[in-house]
């Protein structure tokens, strides 16, 4: 059973591939009915599917493909000219075939689809020549019959030679087979040549060719032969799988005799998509590790400036980061599919639509080799269908109107794909009547989608985008093709899903051009990291137009909204803290940064406290528990192992409309704690040093004063003690050299807090260099004590800085 499943899988994969190609070929065939190569190709597909399905006992499918084959065979011999009407039937049968294949995929059986009607039509075309339509279920698979004939034919030959195969050892048997084979080939060739001389067409030339080239056991009679040939000599049939595997190869090779020279057979293997996804995940982890390594390298560089091993470390880090980037690109490429896979189905669609709508439309496709991530290719199929249907139905006019307007009778829709930077652009142009902005606005107002005020302030481009609104349709009546107001909405949702952008341009009377800009891959993106208070957020760089540094007085308030002037435009502003409910602990500085976000034609200025930089981030989902949080698209893991949330720009722009108040302006400066000091222990001093001995020495020096002493063993601990706010510190003694967070960093961090702006920080260190002192001053230290020091000196410095009242001494 397992083996059967395996064969079935192979069969399905192969068949779907073949069928996909088929549609395209058939439409082309209609234009050039005499193209024998095409016909042969199509015939082969039907034939291959028939052969394999009969082997797998899918009787209905076999029955259907058999009759298709009859028709195509006639056409191939010139006994039948493919007219559009015949094509309709053939296409219908192919649709049925697809449906059957889908059923087989889902249920492993081909029951439930009625092909009888289609078979009768096919029969009519082939002149009733084929099998008399028999009840579907009982149709005998034609293949076994042929196989029997083959077997019977072979038997006499064996008897002529009379070798005792049963008693031969394998080598001898091999030799015997070889001998028989060459003998048969000779015979076959002779027969064929004779036939060709006689002017007969050799029906099964491809198959025979294949048999010879592959040196499979002989006994192929020069009749329409099945590819699955039993091997009478060995008295066991060829292992089914092997036999089937040969078919695709056979097809490729079989094409050789005809003119359609196939490109050198590509060396490919099929890989389960899950494995690729797993690989992509691992690469994601690697990218994160790389980011972390780079960060550590920077830290080490700062710390051990001028050390020799640094250069070596630098080299290793850059090699690792280079290789990781290459690896990432390589793996990304394995997931890429040519967009042609999606484009292929459109010629057929246009053909059907033109017949349905009585229009004349030509489709021009270019750039089908452009590659996109598999998951994106799957997502854009539907949107493109809707866009093209829309273009056919609403865009291109009926021939009479076109001629009256002085345009060629046949309308043209161009579909092209190309790379543009880090994006793929899919452009759909039509030369139809174009969009009428005013009409669109009227319709939208009529349907209550926008208000009159909104309509007035709407630019032409914004009006074009109205067609993407759910429930919007300009069609006067609902047709089979469009008018339900669903289609273009699907386009917007799907494109949003893959972080893409839609751009619509149109000129009335000349046509419409739609551009879908889609990122190359979903998993790893470039992002701008911004900071607000103590939090960080990642903004997809694709939506960032620019960043500007502004001072507070450049922000104006209009109707309760904050705006700023950006060159000639007025940009509405929103603080990221207002959107994400960030608590304001840190002091708001004089300057702020504005990240200008752009999405289509709308713009928004997002105020942030700091810009951290650009980074490559791996998108991770927040999981089921937290999915659907407004404004958050996902999360990523940063170099330091922390989680950073990724901003959903689309949602953020929506949310910004609801945010009015600008809390950032209020400057309620946290009242500096000015507690009355009544006794010596009211003074609190923090000692930050990683050495226990050093802390002890400081404690001994300060204890006589009677002040309260709190200890912390490094910068991080000190910071968390400060944040807990259990003590009001009057002064801090800070060592410089500490693990986790050094003194300079600690000082810089502390100075960010409003509350501790005026907290005296005293460096106590053995570093005596001038540059060290300079750094101390830069980071906000008020005193610099070098070890060793006397207890009295330390005590007097502390007293001076905390304004120690003399009476407590």
């Amino acid at each position: 059973m397992d083996e059967f499943q395996e064969i079935l899988q192979d069969f399905l994969v192969e068949s779907f591939e073949l069928v996909e190609k088929l549609d395209e070929d058939l439409v082309e065939l209609e234009n050039t009915p005499e193209d024998l190569e095409l016909l042969n190709g199509i015939f082969r597909v039907a034939h291959t599917v028939k052969g394999a399905s009969s082997f797998l006992n899918f009787d209905i499918l076999t029955h259907l493909t058999h009759h298709m084959e009859d028709v195509l065979n006639k056409a191939r011999h010139g006994e039948l000219i493919i007219t559009p009407d015949i094509m309709d039937v053939v296409l219908e049968s192919i649709d049925l075939m697809k449906a059957l294949l889908n059923t087989i995929r889902d249920t492993s059986a081909d029951a439930g689809i009625d092909v009888a009607e289609c078979v009768i039509k096919l029969d009519k075309i082939s002149g009733g020549d084929g099998d008399v339509p028999t009840p579907v279920a009982t149709t005998p698979a034609p293949e076994p019959v042929v196989e029997e004939v083959v077997a019977v034919e072979s038997v006499p030959e064996e008897e002529e030679d009379e070798p005792d195969y049963d008693n031969m050892d394998p080598d001898e048997l091999e030799a015997e087979i070889e001998k028989l084979l060459s003998q048969r080939q000779e015979e076959d060739r002779a027969k064929r040549e004779a036939k060709i001389e006689a002017g007969e067409t050799v029906l099964s030339a491809p198959e025979i060719e294949e048999e010879i080239e592959q040196a499979t056991p002989a006994s192929t009679p020069p009749v329409a032969a099945p590819v699955t040939t039993p091997v009478p000599v060995q008295k066991t049939p060829v292992a089914p799988k092997q036999a089937k595997k040969e078919e695709p190869k056979g097809d490729a090779k079989a094409a050789a005799p005809t003119k359609r020279a196939p490109a050198a057979v590509e060396q490919t293997i099929r890989v389960d998509v899950k494995r690729l996804d797993h690989l992509m995940n691992l690469i994601g982890e690697l990218v994160l590790a790389k980011n972390r390594l780079i960060k550590i390298n920077d830290d080490v560089e700062e710390r051990y400036e001028g050390e020799e091993f640094l250069e070596e470390l630098n080299q290793v880090v850059s090699i690792v980061s280079l290789v990781t980037t290459d690896l990432q690109i390589a793996v990304m490429k394995t997931r890429m599919l040519p967009i042609g896979k999606v484009f292929n189905k459109f010629p057929r669609m246009i053909r059907d639509l033109t017949r349905e709508l009585n229009k004349k439309i030509e489709l021009e496709i270019s750039g089908e080799d452009t590659e996109l991530d598999k998951s994106i290719v799957e997502e854009i199929g539907d949107p493109l269908v809707h866009i093209i249907r829309n273009s056919c139905d609403h865009g291109v006019e009926i021939p009479e109107i076109r001629v009256a307007a002085g345009k060629p009778e046949t309308g043209t829709i161009t579909l092209k794909a190309y790379n543009e930077g880090n994006q793929i652009v899919i452009q759909i142009d039509d030369d139809g009547k174009g969009l009428d902005a005013d009409m669109l606005k009227d319709k939208a107002m009529e349907k209550g989608l926008i208000t009159e005020k909104e309509a007035d302030s709407m630019s032409e481009k914004e009006a074009f985008l109205l067609i993407m609104k759910p429930g919007f349709s300009t069609a006067a009546s609902v047709t089979n093709v469009s008018g339900r107001g669903v289609g273009m909405d699907v386009v917007k949702t799907n494109i949003d899903k893959v972080n893409g952008i839609i751009d619509v341009e149109s000129k009335q009377g000349e046509g419409t051009s739609m551009k879908l800009k889609i990122p190359l891959t979903l998993a790893i993106i470039q992002a701008l990291l911004v900071g607000v208070q103590e939090e960080y957020y990642a903004i997809p760089l694709a939506s960032v137009l620019e960043t500007v540094r502004i001072s507070r007085d450049e922000i104006y308030t209009v109707e309760g909204r904050s705006v700023m002037r950006l060159r000639d435009d007025v940009l509405s502003l929103v603080h990221i803290g207002d959107i994400f409910e960030v608590e304001r602990i840190l002091d708001a500085s004089e300057h702020a940064y504005v990240v200008v976000l752009g999405l289509g034609t709308s713009k928004l200025g997002l105020i942030v406290d700091t810009l951290v930089g650009q980074e490559e981030i791996v998108i991770k989902s927040l999981g089921d528990y937290l999915k659907g949080i407004e404004g958050i698209a996902g999360a990523t893991i940063r170099g330091d192992g922390g989680v950073t949330l990724i901003v959903d720009v689309v949602a953020l722009m929506e949310m910004a409309k609801g945010v009015k108040a600008m809390a950032m302006i209020d400057n309620s400066a946290g009242d500096a704690v000015s507690n009355e000091k009544n006794k010596a222990s009211d003074y609190t001093v923090m000692i930050v040093d990683d050495s226990k001995t050093d802390r002890m020495i400081m404690r001994k020096a300060l204890e006589p004063m009677g002040v309260t002493l709190i200890e912390a063993s490094d910068g991080q601990e000190a910071l968390s003690v400060l944040k807990q706010g259990e003590h009001n510190f009057d002064c801090m003694l800070v060592d410089i050299e500490m693990p986790r967070m050094d003194g300079y960093t600690l000082a810089t961090e502390i100075k960010k807090y409003n509350k501790y702006k005026n907290l005296p920080l005293i460096a106590v260190t053995s570093r005596t260099g001038k540059s060290d002192r300079m750094r101390g001053v830069e980071s906000g230290m008020v005193e610099y004590i070098t070890k060793p020091y006397s207890a009295d000196y330390l005590s007097s410095v502390v007293q001076r800085n905390v304004n120690f009242k003399a009476e407590f001494l």
Partner: protein, 165 residues
Amino acid sequence: MGDKLKQIINQQGEQHNTATLDQSDDIVQLVGFIIGEEEYAVPILAIQEIIKPFTWTRVPQVPPYILGVFNLRGSVIPLIDLRVKFGLQSKNHNEDTRFFVLKQDDEVAGFVIDKLTAAIRIKKENIGPAPDTISGNDTMIDGVGKQEDRIITILKVDKLLERDF
């Protein structure tokens, strides 16, 4: 002599039997922990791991009991404060605080608990249903386990992992 031997063998056999009984389905294995004043427990098989607290990232627009998300070896996992969820005041994490990472099917989440107590083996017959007043489909309580000197509230893992906002 022969009788004595038989007796011993029989005895051993009996002991063996009772020993296997202990291993059978009648025993439920739980891990107990404390939130506030109460002791709770979850089935040991639902626990992916128990880790010491570390930093997490706040997530906006969620109920207060969701502290945010944290990074567990490359996966982003939500962190839920059970104190707040159970209506208590949140408190600063200390030496005893642990993150409980629970997993059921594909759902994973971390839960902050005050203190870990012990792995508990408890007979099924000693587990009573949740009190009538709080039973029903909405309750997070699976049952109440009775030990000699205390009772333990056993929580439903699927309810804990269910998003309820």
